[in-house]
């Protein structure tokens, strides 16, 4: 027996290797002689494990003199002597199948109690089947060990009987009987395994309440999923998602059952039940917790954007959770219940699902492009980029590379789609040729739309950078010169769009007949663009300081020409020339000047209060600079010439405004008032 013990690790290694080599085919029975020598070794394994436990034998349901428990000890003794018996013939047995070069003449007597033991086990199973016991067997620790140990003994017995030539020769009926009971026990365990697998998972949240260990586990999981979400865009309600697992007790029991079934050669049934059960549980969880519902590619094409827009966050959430929670959980669980499985079960459970996930990504990339889809497409792109690598780690090498190819393909598709959306945006700017000027020279909706779009897209700056770098094969062919600059592909894309927007706005400014108004229009739009860029670190970084400075100086030019166009003329009325003749004031001229000034100013005020400057700062800058030019000039003019008008009626008639009035009126400009400004003027005068 000690010898057998020595071989245990060897055996384990071997079985691991076999399993790993082939998930499915190890259901093929190993060729017989091989199986025997392998199982041989197993005997010692099972026994050493159970002997100590036998010492703490329960007196439980001892009725007469013979119970499962009392017979167990005897059976164990028999088993060990049987295996010793085999040991003695070990040398011969190595070639056992080769049909006796030596006749086995040691007939091994099998005592009566073996049959009795089998009968008792059968009775036990029948009682379970009839539903007689009031409590479920697995809720009673003693029952659990009693049953599982008995099953183990039958398996050991079977193995020894089958591997001992003398037994094969003389005890076939017993072998049949024992095999039959073993099958019955295994079928029972299989059913129980499935029921446990299916039913205890639903109770898991409830169990977690009083089961400290599982509670800890689930909070751990929750933390993981939260962390994951904080890295990327947080989705509401993720915290509640938990892995559909089992309490530690249930896991231990499942593992024991799996172990016993495997030891008895029924491991494949157990694995199959597990596969089917876990797949169903996983799908159910995805559906209930993540609201994930499979959608066909065809359906995705037919969905409205509104519908699809709702599907995508569900998809990303599900994918992330699979990567951070569900899949690692599946892998761990399989390893716990089937130690040494090394992920083969996990691969079967998760592989098909992963492929389906990727199908959705492809499907979205295939939908008709539109600019509004960009951000959701990038969400999917990022999810694949960030959540797939940890996921692929869980799979076996062969599957990993296959899945990686699938992901690469999906990402290229999405990336190309994103790039095309940008060129669509370019085209839509180019082709926007609305001929109606925006009233008051305000910011054009196209500027607003484009800038907000770009600003938002710069929140995905790094991703877009990556997308343009990795997927823009077409663009490069077409636009080689544009890409020659030192800046990145995405930055140059952005510049190109800015230039297009500028071009478009300049064309639109020509729609205003009033030159100052077209200046205001350009200022408004320019200012809006600059503010947007300054307001977002991401886009600012892409466009750079130089660009902003250049842009600001352009704005100053528009400012200057506005000032010149509008106020230069007005200032002309405040000049001295023509008012003096030979050191004397030419009064009619003076009166004329005042009249013209007033009329022109009124006109300016009237039109330009309807003009719009959206940006408050720009508005006050403009007013301040107008005031700075106008007020000193007007004040000086008044000081110099005001005295020549007769006080009273004449002054009242020609000096319509005091410098303060002018200042106030300037402050009313660019309000975008559509009502007449004259009322305001009238009010102010009183």
């Amino acid at each position: 027996m000690e010898k057998n013990d020595d071989k245990d690790p060897d055996h384990n290694d071997k079985s691991i290797i076999e399993e790993k080599a082939d998930v499915v085919s190890d259901a093929h029975p190993p060729d017989e002689s091989d199986g025997i020598s392998k199982e041989n070794v197993d005997v010692g394994n099972a026994e050493t494990e159970h002997n100590p436990e036998d010492n703490v034998e329960s007196e439980g349901e001892e009725t007469h003199q013979q119970t499962l428990e009392s017979l167990s000890e005897e059976l164990d003794q028999l088993l060990s002597s049987l295996s010793l018996h085999k040991e003695e013939h070990k040398d011969d047995n190595t070639e056992e199948k080769e049909k006796g070069d030596q006749e086995d003449d040691d007939y091994f007597q099998i005592p009566q109690f073996v049959g009795k033991f089998l009968d008792l086990l059968e009775d036990k199973l029948s009682r379970y089947d009839s539903g007689e016991p009031k409590t479920v067997w697995y809720q009673d620790q003693e029952e659990v060990s009693s049953l599982l140990e008995a099953v183990d003994r039958v398996s050991n017995l079977m193995r020894l009987l089958l591997n001992t030539k003398s037994c094969l020769d003389h005890h076939e009926p017993l072998i049949n009987h024992a095999g039959s009971i073993q099958q019955r026990a295994m079928a029972f365990l299989e059913d129980e395994f499935r029921i446990l697998l299916e039913e205890s998972v639903i109770k898991e949240t409830a169990l977690a309440m009083d089961d400290a260990s599982s509670q800890r586990k689930s909070t751990e999981d929750a933390v993981v999923s939260q962390d994951q979400d904080q890295v990327t865009a947080p989705e509401p309600g993720d915290q509640e998602i938990e892995y559909p697992g089992y309490s530690e007790d249930v896991v231990a029991l499942l593992r024991k059952i799996a172990e016993k079934m495997k030891a008895g050669g029924y491991g494949w049934e157990c694995r199959e039940v597990y596969l089917v059960g876990r797949r169903n549980i996983l799908m159910r969880t995805l559906k209930h917790d993540c609201e994930f519902e499979k959608v066909s590619i065809d359906e995705v094409q037919k969905m409205s954007w509104g519908e699809l827009e709702r599907e995508i966050p569900i998809w990303t959430k599900t994918f992330k959770n699979c990567s951070s929670l569900f899949f690692p959980g599946e892998l761990k669980l399989a390893e716990k219940i089937f130690p040494g499985d090394e992920g083969s079960l996990f691969c079967i459970v998760a592989h098909g699902l992963t492929i389906q996930f990727l199908g959705f990504a492809e499907a979205v990339a295939m939908t008709k492009r539109s600019t509004e889809k960009l951000f959701k497409i990038l969400d999917i792109y990022e999810t694949l980029r960030d959540s797939f690598p940890p996921m692929e780690e869980l799979f076996w090498e062969e599957l990993r590379s296959e899945l990686r190819n699938e992901v690469t393909s999906a990402r290229s598709r999405l990336g190309e789609s994103a790039i095309n959306i940008f060129s669509d945006l370019e085209n839509s700017i180019k082709s926007d040729s609305s001929k109606t000027p925006v009233p008051g020279g305000a910011v054009h909706p196209l500027t607003r739309y484009t800038m907000n779009y770009l600003k938002y897209s710069c929140e995905y700056k790094d991703t877009l950078e990556q997308v343009f770098k990795s997927h823009s094969k077409m663009e490069q062919e077409e636009e080689v010169p544009a890409n020659n600059s030192a800046c990145s592909a995405f930055a140059s894309q952005l510049m190109r769009i800015m230039d297009l927007l500028d071009g478009n706005m300049e064309a639109k400014s020509k729609l205003y007949k009033d030159i100052p108004l077209s200046c205001i229009f350009m200022m408004n739009n320019g200012r809006y663009i600059v503010q947007k860029i300054k307001g977002s670190a991401e886009i600012h970084e892409v466009m750079g300081d130089t660009w902003c400075r250049r842009r600001s100086s352009e704005l100053r030019n528009y400012h200057k020409s506005y000032q010149r166009e509008t106020w230069g003329k007005l200032l002309g009325f405040l000049g001295h020339e023509g008012l003096m003749h030979n050191g004397k004031i030419v009064k009619p001229n003076l009166k004329e000047r005042f009249k013209s000034f007033n009329a022109t100013f009124d006109e300016i005020h009237k039109t330009q209060t309807t003009w719009v400057i959206n940006d408050e700062q720009l508005q006050s800058e403009l007013r301040v600079s107008i005031t700075a030019v106008m007020i000193p000039a007007y004040r000086a003019f008044m000081a110099r010439f005001g005295q020549y008008l007769d006080p009273g009626r004449q002054t009242e008639k020609y000096v319509k405004y005091q410098p303060e009035d002018i200042e106030d009126l300037i402050d009313e400009l660019f309000e975008g008032n559509t009502s007449s400004s004259s009322t305001a003027t009238a009010k102010r005068r009183t």
Binding site: D22, V24, S25, A27, H28, P29, E32, E122, L125, Y128, D129, G131, L168, E172, I175, N176, A178, G179, S180, I181, Q182, Q183, R184, A187, F188, E190, D191, E192, R194, I195, G265, Y266, W268, E269, E272, V273, V276, G277, R279, N280, M283, K294, V295, S296, I297, D298, E299, I348, G352, I355, Q356, G359, E362, M366, E402, E406, S409, R413, K430, E478
Partner: protein, 412 residues
């Protein structure tokens, strides 16, 4: 400003393409290509229709030999893999004809403004079928594992009651899975659950379970609805939709590009139809009857032949309910039934004759499992390849159309 540039660019491109490519706008050349294409299609399907060596009549110890011969049979895994290869070849050739050296504007003009989108829509539907079939093959792998359990149990010596009951249990699961009707198999919600319940009722605590009757199926079914392509997705509907507007080109269209488009679409629909027939697939009611294939065209002769063969088989099976017509599955089912019969009549000790004939069947089952083991995964991978090919081609065609759109846009 840019459109003009584009225009000029691709105009030059066009000229250089014309100079370099074998396909010319020249219709004579095109005609030759089209004929060659049709010939290739015909050849490929003829080869599929008549697999090389006919199966030998099985003699006692040559089961393995016989099943090797059966390898190439229509609907065997190996044959399905060949079919995938054929599809990929046809597709590559077709794309060359459609796109290579062609003036993009040509395929955006009528009747192509209708034909091309229809074709692209078909390819989307084909993608879903690929996904469904890949899932279906997952189910077949489940059947394979069940069969392997039965094989392992029945290969035990001495063969006792326990082994036989074990095998029976696995086979019962297998047969339930194999005979599930489509509706039950996958339709959303209720149907799937019903199946699960049915198999559950065999389980413990489910009525009179004396030891002997405990051979029932228990492993449970995959709730296939959860593995389906989509909630209300139906293979039958998709294939119907694919064929709805698929009509042979008439008049002067029949001589030009519409013809290979029609051929390729027919091939695609046909291949998808075969796949849905072969393995479990979501909702395929009525598909056995419905597939309009063009009867009197030369290139389609063999395709029609294969279609008839499969269709006949399908109609027979449809009444009973069947998970798929894959040759190995059909054989597995037959063997399963007769092994269950053997199990039912089994009394320890085994009768020699019965045991021997069972052993032969077990060996055949083992051989089927082995073949499935070897070929199912590669078949799955090929179908994924088909999937990606279709995706790529679709993208390429759209790209060309877009180019055409730019070209035809008025230069401002």
């Amino acid at each position: 400003m840019r459109p003009a540039q584009d225009n000029q660019g691709s105009f030059l491109g066009r000229i250089s393409i014309r100079r370099n490519q074998f396909t010319d706008v020249n219709t004579e050349q095109e005609q030759e290509d089209l004929e060659l294409f049709q010939k290739h299609i015909a050849d490929r399907f003829t080869e599929l229709l008549t697999p090389p060596p006919p199966p030998q009549p099985p003699s006692d110890e040559t089961d393995a030999v016989a099943s090797v011969a059966a390898t190439e049979q229509i609907m065997s895994v190996t044959w399905l893999r060949k079919l995938m290869d054929v599809f990929l070849c046809c597709e590559a050739e077709f794309k060359a004809i459609l796109l290579m050296g062609r003036d993009p504007t040509q395929i955006s003009k009528p009747p192509f403004d209708r034909l091309v989108p229809e074709m692209l829509d078909r390819s989307i539907k084909a993608l879903d079928i690929c996904t469904a079939v890949v899932n279906g093959i997952d189910s077949v792998r489940h059947y394979q594992r069940l069969a392997e359990i039965a094989v392992a149990a029945l290969e035990q010596r001495p063969l006792g009651d326990g082994n036989v009951r074990r095998a029976k249990r696995a086979l019962a699961n297998l047969l339930i899975a194999l005979s599930i009707e489509d509706k039950e198999n996958v339709s959303s919600g209720g149907g799937g659950n019903k199946t699960v319940e049915r198999s559950w009722s065999f389980g413990r605590r489910g009525g009179g379970s004396s030891a002997a009757s405990k051979g029932g199926a228990t492993i449970g079914q995959l709730k296939s609805s959860s593995w389906a392509v989509g909630r209300n997705w139906s293979a039958a509907k998709q294939i119907h939709a694919m064929t709805a507007n698929l009509t042979p080109p008439r008049g002067n269209e029949a001589a030009g590009l519409p013809l290979p488009m029609f051929i390729m679409s027919t091939v695609t629909v046909f291949v998808m139809w075969v796949l849905t027939a072969a393995v479990p697939c979501q909702e395929r009611a009525g598909l056995a009857n419905h597939l309009p294939v063009p009867k009197h065209l030369n290139w389609a002769q063999s395709l029609v032949g294969i279609h008839e063969k499969i269709g006949d088989e399908w109609k027979k099976k449809e009444k009973k309910g069947s998970a798929g017509l894959m040759e190995e599955m059909t054989r597995m089912e037959k063997l399963g039934h007769s092994l269950i019969e053997f199990a039912d009549g089994f009394h320890y000790p085994a009768e020699k004759e019965a045991a021997e004939s069972a052993a032969a069947q077990v060996a055949e089952m083992a051989e089927i499992c082995r073949r499935m083991e070897e070929e199912l995964v590669p078949l799955q991978q090929q179908i994924r390849e088909v999937f990606h090919r279709i995706v790529r081609s679709r993208a390429e065609i759209l790209e060309v159309l877009e180019q055409a759109g730019k070209l035809s846009a008025p230069v401002v």
